[in-house]
Subunit: 119 residues, 2 copies
DNA sequence: TCTACGTTTCAACAGAAGTTGATATGTAGG
DNA sequence: CCTACATATCAACTTCTGTTGAAACGTAGA
């Protein structure tokens, strides 16, 4: 991920409705949510939400697929990871005092499979 | 860190000059950089930079201290960590497939002291 | 205290971003 | 094919954000 992509991703996440959409989609998991369901979840008009979804899609943070009449959106887990990687890369330029708290935070996250942490 | 703070932080990082400032400060380490030096580094007029620095400060991403005539800015490592934690917290809502790539990315970062990773 | 230097504040402007309502596309069922 | 439903697009408006130039503040040395 280069600066331009990171910039787009951060800008996308720096908007209330879009941040809520991403959180809702990440929570929803790989199955994702239909645009209409999302619109209700974040309380945004459908046409307006569509605008934000396009923006998030361009930023590489979400993906979409059609299922019948609905369009299902889901979190782009790879994109989110890349963004974390970008932050980590920045924090690692010889100054471990930034990274270590993040590592500790991640270690406290119990969703890890144990393959990498808790070894 | 609550949503409002995360929102402010993401919005702050979603701006070219501010992202460059943060990267420069993170790279510079705890000693930080004077406002004038930063202005040259990111090629932004002093008064304009001051505006961005205030914004980053409000977002909790940087701190400042006066040293003689200069004002020295440095990265708020705790704030950056909190932001990472916020992303991690979101990604951990029962869906390890998001978290694991991030964990792998962090594991590849060689700035860790080895206390948490590489165990 | 006067001057020089570094930084910040302010008002004004220009441009971008978000919202809204109307309209269009695309899909399924009768 | 026609209708109903779900989503997307478009143009217009409003609001927010970033930039600029002028001026103020605060600090250090003569």
């Amino acid at each position: 991920m280069d600066e331009r992509q990171a910039l787009a991703a951060f800008a996308a996440l720096g908007q209330e409705h879009r941040l809520r959409v991403v959180r809702a989609l990440v929570t929803a998991g790989p199955d994702g949510l239909a645009a209409g369901v999302l619109a209700e979840a974040v309380n945004v008009a459908g046409n307006n939400l569509s605008f934000h979804l396009k923006e998030l899609s361009h930023a590489g943070l979400i993906t979409s697929r059609r299922e019948g009449k609905s369009v299902i959106y889901s979190a782009a887990y790879a994109g989110l990871s890349d963004l974390v990687q970008f932050l980590m890369r920045d924090c690692c330029q010889g100054h471990p005092e930034v990274c270590n708290p993040a590592v500790a935070a991640l270690a406290a996250c119990d969703c890890t499979t144990g393959e990498t942490l808790h070894a």
